[in-house]
Symmetry: C2
Subunit: 338 residues, 2 copies
């Protein structure tokens, strides 16, 4: 593999000059620059980023730490869409992305900062980790720039991008209220997700503003899992037959809920209205198509990458909150007069 030394020798100059010529410094004459460039091309030279990173003390890589790259998470391509957004932005820079996986026990032996420092990543994007994850405390303590997705923690070194979860949930519930529903249940995620808290808050606000009492026993956790949501919904709807609508904190759980309803012989939307959250690909393909709150996952990744690169260039950590959108499809309808 040809190095800068080889070029220097071939061109009859010092390595310093080669380096400065290749990097476009002004203190090398056009004549020698051209000569060096030509030789570099001819020798098929490509710089060793490892060596460069070592001396410059920056690696031009960002770490992508996601937890959703598991076989079971394939159904909602949330993770992938975010990754695609990240990738899309990064592709336009001179950074590269290195994939950290947190799902394996092997990796888990290392702490967050070990992970980052070993590879000397310049910054990190974190997605899909729970609020009780030990990594999270490390993130704030660490001095490495970081942007979180859907986790509202901020410092001068860490920013985040999220969506207007409270308002999004509110819109979903208001939609149900406008359809005349009063007996509205909620399938939430779990206690270790900020979005769960926020979506619950949106739910409550909408209900309170409409003067509809909130029934605590109608709010259950489905752990963001289709199966779990199905089981919980089955229990709930057998116990409380008067529920006419359910707001779910994720589309995947909404699918589970619809399965449960089908098993119970309840029709969607005639007997029960269901609204989801996320607008995953499946939402528009299932039957009945799912009314949901759409969030632009691609853009979340894109914005996250953009913010991180900004931060690496000396700008401050920010907070980006993206808008959501109510997408009305077939799974919601006016409440039956009874």
């Amino acid at each position: 593999m040809t190095t800068i030394k080889d070029i220097a020798k071939a061109a009859g100059v010092s390595v310093t000059t080669v380096s400065r010529a290749l990097n476009g410094y002004s203190d090398v004459s056009e004549k020698t620059r051209k000569k060096i460039m030509d030789i570099a091309k001819q020798l098929n030279y490509s710089p060793n980023t490892l060596a460069r990173s070592l001396v410059m003390n920056k690696s031009k890589t960002i770490g992508l730490l996601v937890s959703g790259m598991t076989r079971s998470a394939l159904k909602d391509n949330f993770t992938f869409e975010v990754m695609t957004g990240v990738n899309d932005y990064i592709a336009k820079t001179d950074y590269d992305v290195i994939l950290f996986n947190t799902n394996s026990t092997k990796q888990r032996e290392k702490t967050y900062s070990q992970l980052c420092r070993e590879r000397r990543v310049d910054g990190v994007i974190l997605q899909g980790i729970k609020t009780d994850d030990p990594y999270l405390t490390e993130v704030v303590e660490s001095d490495i720039p970081c942007v979180l997705i859907d986790i509202p923690i901020q410092s001068d070194r860490v920013g985040y991008v999220t969506t207007d979860n409270v308002y999004g949930a509110k819109k979903a519930v208001q939609h149900l209220l406008e359809l005349g529903h009063r007996n509205i249940a909620m399938m939430n995620g779990h206690d270790y997700a900020f979005v769960s808290k926020q979506r619950l808050q949106g739910f409550c606000e909408a209900m309170q503003e409409a003067n509809v009492p909130i029934r605590k026993e109608w709010i259950v956790n489905g752990d963001f899992s289709e199966e779990m949501a199905e089981a919980r919904a089955y229990e709930l709807f057998t116990k409380h037959e008067n529920i006419t609508a359910m707001f779910c904190a994720s589309d995947l759980m909404a699918l589970g809920v619809m399965k449960a309803l089908k098993q119970l012989g309840l029709r969607v939307p005639e007997d029960v209205s269901v609204v989801g959250y996320d607008d995953i690909l499946l939402a528009s393909y299932v039957s009945p198509a799912l009314t949901t709150i759409a969030q632009n996952k691609f853009q979340m990744g894109y914005e996250a990458a953009s913010m991180l690169i900004d931060m690496l260039e000396g700008n401050e950590a920010k907070v980006v909150t993206l808008r959501t959108q109510l997408v009305v499809r077939e799974s919601t309808a006016e409440v039956k007069k009874g």
Copy 2:
């Protein structure tokens, strides 16, 4: 950031000894090893892989070069599933994955070997590139270990993993033949994909063995795109009303075909049977659910990673061919007697 030197100073030994202690060499006494370990932990030391890679001339990273990380490719999560498989295997090793993106014009200025050599990746996994991609010729010429997905090129440094495309397609067509279909069309991908050639071959073999004539004008290319397939199918079915079944080289195209049929007032499967290929997530959710040839994309990635790591450890490049499976759902039925 604490280095090996800091430890050496603190422990009163040389950097050599620290290095050898930390790496488990036998020529350091247990007493000093323990002392060094303790100090390392206390100083919160983590090794600089950049420096290590530089001197060892191996980076313990593999490059993942995919073309499917685009906004438009989100629908079939083929790419993501493969990536998940790769990630899953790599997580068990001490390698890390670095993401190369080929979709941006910026990156495209660099050649394949430039991309690889700059980051000094030890090996590469390539997925989703076309057969006329200039990268492909570089792959074989380059001396860097590589495993291809769905591209049957082999040398001592490059292996590949694929599925039994010929047999898979054959099974699909045989399924249609068994249902009594004789007027079978095919929606193929494009000429720059090996799988297209192979699936066409499987189509032809099945037809010939059943003594059913192949109508060349009934074989069209949908470019693996839903929209394109829809357009092509619309043309085809308006022109040739006697077609009773279509084999599609991808599920996504099958969806497009079904859309076209719907527009034409043709029912699936009553009027036309459709069988896809891939078994993407959507296949089981659309209505009617898609009969298709399932391939285990996760495992493809897993096997690819496994093979690559094997190669990096000195083993030979291999060829892995995974089995496919016919999944009969609702989009195929017996041909109408007429």
